[in-house]
Amino acid sequence: MHGSHATGSPYAPHTEEDRSTMLEAVDADTVEDLFDIPDAVRFDGEFDIDPRTERETRRLVRSILGRNDEVTELLGRGHYGYYVPSLVDHLADRSEFLTSYTQYQPEISQGFLQALFEYQSLLVELTGLEVANCSIYDAATALGEAATLADRVRATTGHRVLVPEPTLLREERRSTLENYVAGTDLAVETFPVADGTVDLAGLEETIDEDVVMVYAENPTVRGAVEEHLAEIGSLAEEHDALFTLGSDPIALSLLQRPADVGADVVIGDASVLGLPTSYGMGLGLFATREDYLRQVPGRLVGVGEDATDRRAFTLTLQTREQHIRRERATSNICTNQAWVALRTAIHAAALGPSGMVDLANRGVTRAATLADRVDEIVGVQAPVHDRHHFREFVARVDQPAAAIAADLERLGFAVHVVGEHEIQICVAGVPDERLDRFVEAVEEVVR
């Protein structure tokens, strides 16, 4: 696009004249002279990557991504495709937000700091906990951070981290957690589940004084609303273990408030608000009690005063962080998901509290309605679990689930396969008329 530099970087501004002047100033004949690289390790090959015009590059990406099939996704299990209001894109795309660095110079970053402060405040209201950081990468890494926090704050020598059996914990979260605790003495173990939620008796049998953390989710990954959260919280407390609850901002708008059920830490994926489906890109929600403030991973925005005593926002308690505390930091996290947190905050604000509650309620109602409708189809039973459901549910199919899912995909609908004869169906973000067509499609493929 930029005429005279068409053969170099289109974003580097020097004219030949500038370049000469500058080389003269630094006393070099050519730019190559400035590279102090021994011949032995010099690279004189090529990457074989052709430069393209902006337009060609756009067409290339469009053409590659055009290979993705257009499918109505009835998919959830931790990543959701709620509609994101246009306002979110337009405001978050303002270049001041998009292109600024972490707010280490708060005097010229007040706007972003305030937005992150408001994001933290949103999470404080949603969780009832006093402290929320301004982001972790995603729910899985937030779970990992929760475990290392539990390890740090737990006075005893316990080493067990209890998580639900595989049917109620995504393998990816479990695996990420395992990596996070690999450098500690912690061991990840499971407790039993029953009918899509925690098996309270089983948990009671499993838990002991050696447990530093119990993790449960609400709703569970199979869409069931957990009915015994307070009991789980009590069990954890009795054994001096932290209770870490996994959830998300839409669920938290309606379901029991974590602080009310004894949660010590809340993690989850907050990008359920703010991002469209994005192949799993997320926003790790991390909130905890004030007691653990100085053990919190990641960045915190606080309020202070400037030299004229006016209120001002600033990153605070930075001595927890890697750039100051190095190997004794509360986490290695540096770049996090600040811009996604901004998007989440804007989306939440666009909904307002009534809009958030409404969205959550619709998730309950619409899932129940859809379950009833597919349950009427011969060869399908739904929901599998005798529970209230939030936004998604598991259905049993008489035929092999994989074949049903493949047939549905050919008709333009994606569902999860979660068992040999189980599919999981999520209504989040799917318009009603698509659900109607989905029911028809299920009727067709089970016939």
Binding site: H14, A92, I108, L122, T176, S278, V303, N332, D432
Partner: protein, 479 residues
């Protein structure tokens, strides 16, 4: 400032409306029983016009890369091409991570191509795109190294060596991986002290983490020897990609003997920093380490193509460490990085480094602060001398430019770590130099009072940390 609306959540009759988005009603009576719901939700309720104004106003109180120069050393704050936002916003990019491989061939192809691009650029044999940031990439490198040693029966290695001038994340990532961190001093030229390295290396050494050029902007000329020394004791050599913008097309970590590296796409490949993320920290490794990379990776299917197009699939490396992210990392960021590389190609990338290096050298020459060491690549570290570097930074704000990174690396007293990147014009560099040179002669009081021309004046960090107030609720509780 906040006009909170409290929504009471009751237990309605359970039929809860027809689920239509358009029926114009709001359900706050829940179909769920009371004991499964919260009682209320209290948050601001604003109209769209009010929100637009709120966030527009906030944006006006932020200095971004489109505001002016942003010479943060080691951060590579380069211009973020606008078109990359457009491609990341394509509807076809919005897919769920649990989609069948067959139905997201476009996503898999783009990931495959990006893995391939990054491998070529870094001289690495295999690449994972999963780590969502640079530090996450470091952690993957550490975990991969650990798994490799474990696999080879050398799980007892418990030390990672890190130069004292390294990024804080290096220390923290190694520690998170369970390693003891051995700090390595620099020699008098600002580079790795080979004698100290020799002393630090042992059969306990799992890895040495380096960046090259280092944080002083100096190329580690002895890199080949360093690699040999590390490999001789059975250790691995890790490359921190933070400074890769200095080398594009001139040198590759893989060719220097590095075994594993991360790429900061939000630095080298111009994806926006977003006020602190999302970034992405893909990790490249040599063949020996490839079996240990996180799962899944993307490959072309061996059993041929469909309609003349290759078919891509996800696969699990044989001895994978598992996952370090719930899904596939920061996908939307990866699209932008791919687009940037595809736009620039070999020549563009090489020119980016050339201009970045020229700019750093030119600026170093133009400023009156003392700039020890050299010759520099993409950045240099000036010394504020008797001045407080943090004060210098605050004062530079008054001259309308963003200041450099300060007080780090500590090897230079009162460090002003400066990386102009390739996107700054000579005029802008001259203006930036003028800002440095205006401050260099100013007295301590002026500096301590700075900034005076910004929306907020100097913020008292100490008192903010002493009484943390981290939410509107905390402020309300006070009053």
């Amino acid at each position: 400032e906040k006009d909170l609306t409290r929504v009471e959540i009751g237990n309605g009759d359970g039929d809860g409306g027809d689920g239509s988005d358009a029926d114009g009603t709001i359900e706050t009576d829940s179909p769920l029983p009371d004991d499964l719901t919260r009682d209320s939700l209290e948050l601001p309720e604003l109209s769209e016009p009010e929100l637009a104004r709120h966030y527009t106003r906030l944006s006006q109180m932020i200095y971004g890369i489109d505001s002016g120069p942003y010479p943060l050393g080691s951060c590579t704050m380069k211009y973020n091409p606008k078109f990359t936002e457009d491609v990341a916003a394509l509807p076809s990019a919005a897919v769920h991570p649990d989609r069948s491989e067959a139905s997201v061939q476009g996503t898999l192809e783009l990931m495959y191509r990006l893995q391939d691009y990054l491998g070529r650029i870094g001289g690495m044999d295999a690449v994972t795109l999963q780590p969502p940031a640079g530090a996450a990439g470091e952690f993957v490198g550490i975990r991969v190294a650990a798994a490799y040693h474990e696999h080879n029966g050398e799980g007892g290695r418990d030390e990672v060596i890190v130069p004292e001038s390294a990024h804080g994340t290096n220390f923290a990532s190694a520690a998170l991986g369970g390693y003891d961190v051995v700090s390595l001093p620099s020699d008098e030229d600002g580079r790795v002290d080979l004698d100290a390295l020799e002393a630090a290396l042992s059969e306990d050494t799992a890895a040495l983490m380096l960046t090259n050029p280092n944080t002083l902007g100096l190329f580690e000329r002895d890199i080949a020897e360093i690699a040999e020394m590390v490999h001789d004791v059975g250790g691995l050599l890790y490359y921190d990609g933070a400074n890769l913008n200095a080398l594009l097309g001139r040198a590759r970590p893989g060719d220097m003997g590095f075994d594993v590296m991360h790429y900061n796409v939000h630095k080298t490949f111009a994806t926006p920093h977003g006020g602190g993320g999302p970034g992405a920290g893909p990790v490249g490794v040599v063949d020996d380490l490839a079996p240990f990379l996180p799962a899944p990776r993307v490959r072309e299917r061996a059993d041929g193509s469909k309609a003349n197009e290759p078919v891509y699939e996800l696969f699990e490396p044989d001895h994978t460490i598992g996952k370090v992210h719930g899904f596939h990392g920061n996908w939307l960021v990866l699209i932008k990085a791919f687009a940037y590389i595809a736009r620039l190609g070999d020549e563009g990338l090489a020119d980016a480094s050339a201009s970045a290096v020229l700019n750093a050298n030119y600026l170093a020459e133009r400023i009156e602060y003392d700039v020890p060491y050299g010759p520099f690549h993409h950045e240099f570290v000036a010394s504020a001398g008797e001045q407080d570097a943090a004060d210098v930074a605050k004062r530079m704000l008054d001259y309308g430019v963003h200041p450099p990174t300060t007080k780090w690396p500590e090897i230079v007293p009162e460090a002003l770590m400066t990386e102009p990147t390739e996107v700054e014009s000579k005029d802008t560099l001259d203006r930036l130099a003028a800002a440095f040179n205006a401050v260099v002669d100013e007295d301590g009081e002026t500096l301590a009072d700075a900034p005076e021309r910004t929306a907020a004046r100097r913020i008292d960090q100490t008192s903010a940390a002493r009484t943390p107030r981290l939410s509107w609720q905390a402020l309300d509780d006070e009053s």
